[in-house]
Assembly symmetry: C2
Homo-oligomer: 230 residues x 2
């Protein structure tokens, strides 16, 4: 760890002097003090991306939901729980040269979460009502003057991966979407490997299945190349 | 770890020859392939109890939901995700001399969880309907011939701790309830310490706040004493 920290500190690379925000992990949206709704995300891919960007010299602000991955060395780590807290942390970290939104952010939170534990009584089933969470990717993509030069979103899909991700890129207004198929049979969620498609205005580029660390390094190099012309 | 494993193997103690089921951790109830409902539970207290029982010589079947705690050495570990899977694992582990239900089991699961990711579209908010989960504590407490001699439930409460836990003991038909106040301001959830009240037919016994390992050792000794007269 000490060696890695020193390596990171010394890292001079194509991203030296660049400030990059990386979000990672799931968000947890409380139902009551003992229950919450979560998204499945180990944080492995986002953490690997933060580490790869640091290794290329970038100053990384790493905004992470509750995840067990060791925190990336050399990054400035901000720990959050809910989507709302993640948005506030991202807003506070702007401006930046690039923003990579790898977190699996909940689309909804429980409207009027309870301050005390909901009791199971008389077979009555509670009903939860939901309210939409802030859309961090869309708001940063469309933030005008403060918009990072490169905004990258992620799309974890189970059906029609390319079609859904291509539409998402346009709808959100981001530059790239890193899409993947997280159907249980792929073993990608919670696994060491990832098979991604990079969606840009040039179309869909299929990357071979490889370790998440390798996806991270390749993506970091593409980010460096994109920012070089900026 | 090797030393601990050997110690456990050699452990001859008041629980030698006793088979004890311990449940631990949260359950995760799927909403769709990427979202789920969880209970907050680190699994720290349940794991410590399993370890303390092993150290007194018990054969421990440790049924755990998704938790990051290192698995207790010497125990037979069964990993589950949902309340339904936990019930099946407990039923398969019976008969036993005692059953300690430290897991934070979801009371409800999502009725008709989706096989594909629910999409956020046109601002439409999904509605979830719930169905009651099997009540593992009640079903084992009331299981007649196969009932363990000692059944211990847990009650994580935020309000009226003693009152709620005392009623729970009677309603479920278990022998003891280990109750605690998990209101956020206590710092117990996710922390190293616990402050419990042991509810039995003799009333409510307040234990001082101490490390979860110490709570586990004290509870294991009480379990050994209770089984001795059996």
């Amino acid at each position: 760890e000490i060696v890695t920290a020193i390596e990171n500190q010394l890292a001079e690379g194509p991203l030296t002097g660049r400030r990059i925000i990386v979000t990672s992990g799931p968000t947890h949206e409380p139902i009551d003090p003992v229950r919450y709704i979560a998204n499945r995300s180990s944080g492995a891919q986002g953490t690997a991306i933060a580490r790869a960007l640091s290794m290329l010299g970038a100053e990384v602000v790493f905004v992470t939901g509750p995840a067990d991955e060791p925190r990336p060395e050399g990054a400035h780590v901000v720990e959050v729980e809910t989507a709302k807290e993640m948005k506030d942390a991202v807003d506070a970290a702007l401006p930046a040269d690039a923003a990579i939104f790898a977190a699996a952010v909940a689309d909804w939170h429980v409207d009027g979460a309870s301050d005390s534990k909901i009791k199971k009584q008389d077979g009555k089933i509670p009903s939860l009502s939901f309210a939409e969470n802030p859309d961090i990717l869309a708001s940063v993509s469309q933030s005008g003057k403060e918009r990072p030069a490169l905004v990258v979103g992620f799309a974890a899909e189970t059906d029609d991966v390319i079609e859904n991700a291509t539409r998402k890129r346009v709808r959100k207004g981001c530059d790239w979407i890193v899409a993947n198929d997280v159907s249980p049979e792929t073993g990608i969620m919670g696994g060491r490997e990832n098979a991604v498609v990079l969606i840009s205005d040039a179309g869909a580029e299929h990357w071979p299945r490889m370790e998440k660390d390798a996806v991270a390094r390749q993506l970091a190099e593409r980010i460096a190349a994109a920012l070089e012309n900026n």
